[in-house]
Amino acid sequence: MVDYRIDRHSGVATYVQIVQQTKQALRLGMLAPGDKLPTAREVVEATAVNPNTVLKAYRELEREGLVEARRGLGTFVRRSLGAAPADSPLRAELDGWASRAREAGLEREDVAALFTAVLETHYPAPSPGPAHPKTLQGDPS
Amino acid sequence: MSATPTIAPTVPAAALPDQAPRQLRWLVRLHRTPLLTGTALVLLTAAALLWLGGPLTDASAEAWQRYNACGFSPDCSYDQDAIVRYKDVYNYTTYAVLAVPFLVAAWAGGSLTGREMESGTARLAWTQGASPVRWLASRLALPAVLILAATGLLAWLHRLAWTAAEGRVDTTKAWNDFGTFHANGTVPMALALAGLAAGVLAGLLLRRAMAALTVAAVALGALWAAVHTTLPHLWPTVTETSGLRHGPSGQGIVVGQGVVNADGDRLDLPCHTSTLPGCKSTLSDLHAVSFYRDLHPAAHYWPLQLVASGVVLVVAALLAYAAFRLLRHRTGTARRNAG
């Protein structure tokens, strides 16, 4: 199950946050094909965001082929994302690496910076989210 | 109304439930304290009237009998306390019966509508299942029934108590004594209804409990005074004529009196009897033939009561109508779709 957390001050549009968190859950294997996403009602009762925002996010996920809406039943996961579920060997390797980094005396920020740098090398130009980039921009100055 | 949309198929137009909202139950619940207090007061006054008409009247009548039998004998004993007690209780109960309409007016203005307008609970009620008009109707209808029953009972008991003493107690009030006249008939009922309507209207108009309470009571007093003042002129009088020696005569509610001259003209009353020398010459200067007096005898009691009640009821109806009109106008309920 996904438990959406909406950060009002992140500058990221609410529906994009829902899309991203769903994808995150798919990547980590917290959501697997066949799983049911929470209903719009459940999401809005927990987050107090507008129902249309949730529907918009679900439509976006559906457009990307990640979920499908079944009439009267709900929205279900069609496929998972990435190949790194929570218990994969890759995760275990990363876990081991993080432990070694910590033993080597690296601070949290050091590790994050190191990881981001490597990430940038292998995955250049990450896109923050689909469509409407305008609403995603921060302060222009 | 051009704004009425032309497309309206998706909304279930008749989603209105058949059952009427159970308003009366909550009206009673909301006004439980005044209802209980009012009932207690009415029962207390009713008990006092029964006491007055029974034991107190008997005791007073007996005391008067003894007193009258005494003549001028110095060592005669009679129960003076019984006479005084009768008189006191009679006065108090008469005041109590006549105070009811004012209490009703104050309650209606203060509590029934005034406080609801002031605190906004009226708006709460209007946006629950009860429409403003229904809300007002229930606030007029149920209290009206209860008030009619209460004032009817009290006036009837008052009349019984008064009749019980007639001819037996020498200090019985005359039928046309102010308090007795009004408390003995239908006027308290009519006044109480007018008080209700005045209170309700004042509450809606002023939207302040204290102001509405005061205005309603004062307005009711003014209405009563106006009706009392004009009442003798609202029903044809009886004319009694009497010889010049006796002066104008006739018992009842006097409307006018004077002298009639040889031409049959009515003139103001210059003096009271031709047995006084000064008066005799005045009367002969005026060519007076007889005295006259226009009055309402005791037989006019019920016609006068009914006329007074009728006038008050008409005013009550107008006030209630005004309250409905005001509410409709304010909330826009009057605007039925013209097409």
């Binding site: 107090a48 507008n50 222009p140 | 439930p17 909550w26």
Partner: protein, 296 residues
Amino acid sequence: MTVPAIEADAVGKRFGRRAAWALRDCSFRLPAGRVCAVVGPNGAGKSTLLAITAGLLAPTEGTVAVLGTDPATARPRVGFVDQDKPLYPQLTVAETLRMGADLNPGRWDADTAQRVVAGGDLDPRKRIRALSGGQRTRVALALALGKRPELLLLDEPMADLDPLARHELMGTLMGQAAAHGTTIVMSSHVVAELEDSCDHLLLIGGGRVRLAGEIDDLLAAHTRVSAPAGTELAPHDVVESRTTGRQLSALVRPAGPLPGDWRTGAPSLEELVLSYLRNPGAPAPAPAPETTEAAA
């Protein structure tokens, strides 16, 4: 296409013949199923507009259609929570809810009402007069929601609530909208409070409608720009512009593509609202083209 929840046509209201207009020339259209924020400074006419829509006040001029009919006729299908949250002080919480059930026969949703009250840890035997402001709000909302309205009008609903209760009750409201398609209109003078929950905006200032429409559309239609001082902003509609030193910052409604050397950004809802409120003379955007104007 369904009937709009609210359609106001040149609505005006003044209290007394000589009084100033509390609301003037107010025209807008709210489609059904929206969650609409009515925003504006205190005394702007928000409460007046809500009361007219609820059928509690007759407009002095103009007409308003609610759920396809006049407000008085629509009243049984409309829920309303007044700014002061009036309730009968002598009743208990449980009695208040029972009154709601009795006064709304055939519509009453006891579960929802119960749930709203239960969330506040309220003793049902407690009298209303002993409740705190936030608890009263909860009971008032329970009454309004229990009626299962098609249109819910809330005047400053969150003012008395602590952040936790605010979040929870806003969630309940959104759940109601999600489950039943309830149209919700809520006023506030705090824009941030409503930003995530509302998808439609009605900005009222000085008794007039300053902005009305879908929030996404309104935000997309405006751009924040920074340019060197003295830059000519025409032909774009300028809502607000300010020059600080050599820099010109402005909020504009672009009439076409903006020059590439201007730095641009999307305004937040709050920025948009504040810009309009600070500049009463700013031109209101032309209303979004509607198709149902010419019905006759």
